[in-house]
Amino acid sequence: MNTAMLEARDVCQYFGGLKAVEKVNMRIDEGDIFGVIGPNGAGKTTFFNICSGIFKPTAGDILFRGETITGLPSEKIARLGMARTFQNIQLFKFMTVLENVKIGFHIRTKTGVVSAMLRNKQYREDERFANDKGLEVLERVGLMEFKDTLASNLPYGIQRKVEIARALALDPKILLLDEPVAGMNPIETKALSDFIIKLNKDGYTIAVIEHDMKFVMNTCNRILVLNFGQKICEGNPETVRNDKGVNEAYFGKGLIVGGNA
């Protein structure tokens, strides 16, 4: 059995008496588009925050490409090759789109205070790298026309794309997207879905939290369902669609015992 890209083993996160995440196991393989779904408050974002190092789990382990990363700070995890976006978009609002993406190149450049003061070869190489590659990323995501616009002046859907572009600048092995299509109309959703599939073909492993069922069922090849912090189902879209626990979590129990909800 090959090593998983991202693996969670019995991960728990308690906030006082609240069990936000309770003994969740997950396995994302290389090349997956992995969906995490669940009703509001199921612990999806908390789970992502644990994976990306924002929270240190109460118990359990996170393994990234076979290496334990439990409790590492998020900047170290980013360096190992994990990039993420946020549910409530966290762009550098008062910087232009290109500047936002340039910060994404932080871990791939090395200029320190001294090279910056001297403007030596290291500085010139890094600046050229960040600028050229930044434009390349924007081209790929289709944001060229907005490169000099302040991030806060962009419409919601475009801001989400900028956040993805910024994450791509890290050249990550795995990309965690927290509700990437929230607030988008069906056309934008379809476009982003196509884009994610394209990224996946380019070799990125993707994990995505989403409420939009159509999006998840059409895009993901494996799905994890959480409810009240616990895993209730994991499998391909077909399995999840027919799972009784999942249906109950979303629609409640049917009136007739054993009936299809």
Partner: protein, 336 residues
């Protein structure tokens, strides 16, 4: 991204060269045109406070920390130079960088709480450490001169030329200020500057992109403290006498007011702030101590109508962010 920045960038190249060339020529020639010792003294102070305010601006304006105890770093630099020069007879040119490094080391110590604190809590720590530094020098007895301070700080020599008059120091302060703004400009326009600004704008996002926020917060404190130390080290032989009551919290607030009036997070802001506050000091001499009331009013008015400062852009996070509380920081799906 600031308005002054944009105006400057949009100028044609010849105008930029003319502007910078004309200004430097004017500043270089000023002592020859108008060599009054009073005017030179005011100019020396303007340059020195431009370095102090500029270095505080790196910490507060760019990396978004809240340091109100900058006088402490200034104090370390001044005492370090004075002690080296008076007690050990070290040359000014060697004592100058040593004082900067000493202040940077203190800056590193003060930056340690930034790993856990932000906003007003951090401000209290910097306030306290500034006072601790001053009191250590005040109670240092013979070594630091105690409450009497250090007198007869020797003038530096350039070859066999003794630098003692205000006109001579004018060039030293001008050179140091020019060097400071050139180097700071270069750092701000690099990966390091972007990392600093990313911490100010959104620390959580910066971390998720692999920015080692602790390292960059510490480096901004150290860089700012270094230049405050340099300013202090140049001040000591210029004034020929230092004592701990020159580095009180008032001095720290004085520097802070220049940054706020000029515009945080801009390169030109602290220079503008230094010019305005120093000229005000001169104009308000007749009303002596009441001028402090004027400063305070000025800060209140600035915070009210133009929180981003005179040259700050209205589209900066500093423009709207001040009025809302410092605890407005949001994080992904929960509190940190």
């Amino acid at each position: 991204m600031t308005s002054a920045d944009i105006v400057f960038r949009r100028m044609p190249a010849w105008l930029k060269i003319l502007l910078i060339g004309g200004l430097s020529l004017f500043l270089l020639a000023l002592p020859q045109i108008y060599p009054k010792s009073y005017a030179m003294g005011v100019m020396c102070r303007i340059f020195m406070y431009a370095i102090l305010a500029g270095s505080l601006n790196v910490i507060n304006g760019y990396s978004g920390q809240f340091n109100i105890g900058h006088a402490g770093f200034y104090c370390v630099g001044a005492y370090c130079e004075a002690i080296l020069a008076v007690r050990l007879g070290v040359s000014f040119w060697i004592a100058l960088p040593i004082s900067g490094i000493a202040a940077a080391l203190i800056g590193f110590l003060v930056s340690l709480p930034t790993l856990r604190l932000r906003g007003i809590y951090l401000a209290i720590v910097t306030l306290g450490s500034s006072e601790i530094i001053r009191l250590l020098f005040l109670n240092g007895n013979d070594f630091t001169g105690g409450p009497i301070g250090i007198k007869n700080i020797p003038s530096p020599y350039l070859g066999s030329f003794k630098i003692s008059k205000s006109v001579d120091f004018y060039y030293i302060f001008l050179f140091l200020a020019a060097l400071f703004f050139l180097l700071t400009y270069r750092i701000i326009k690099s990966r390091v500057g972007r990392a600093w600004v990313s911490i100010r704008e959104d620390e959580l996002a910066a971390k998720s992109l692999g920015v080692e926020t602790s390292f960059f917060k510490a480096s901004s404190f150290m860089y700012g403290a270094f230049w405050a130390g340099i300013a202090g080290a140049a001040f000591a032989p210029y004034f020929k006498f230092i004592s701990s009551d020159m580095f009180t919290l008032d001095e720290g607030f004085n520097i802070l007011s220049m940054v706020i009036i000029g515009g945080q997070g801009t390169l030109v802001g602290p220079i503008v702030g230094s010019v305005i506050v120093n000229f005000l000091t001169e104009f308000l001499r007749p009303i002596s101590q009441y001028r402090l009331v004027v400063y305070a009013l000025l800060i209140i008015i600035m915070m009210w109508i133009r929180p981003q400062g005179l040259v700050g852009a209205s589209n900066s996070i500093l423009a709207g962010g001040r009025i809302r509380s410092n605890g407005r920081k949001k994080s992904a799906g929960g509190s940190k």
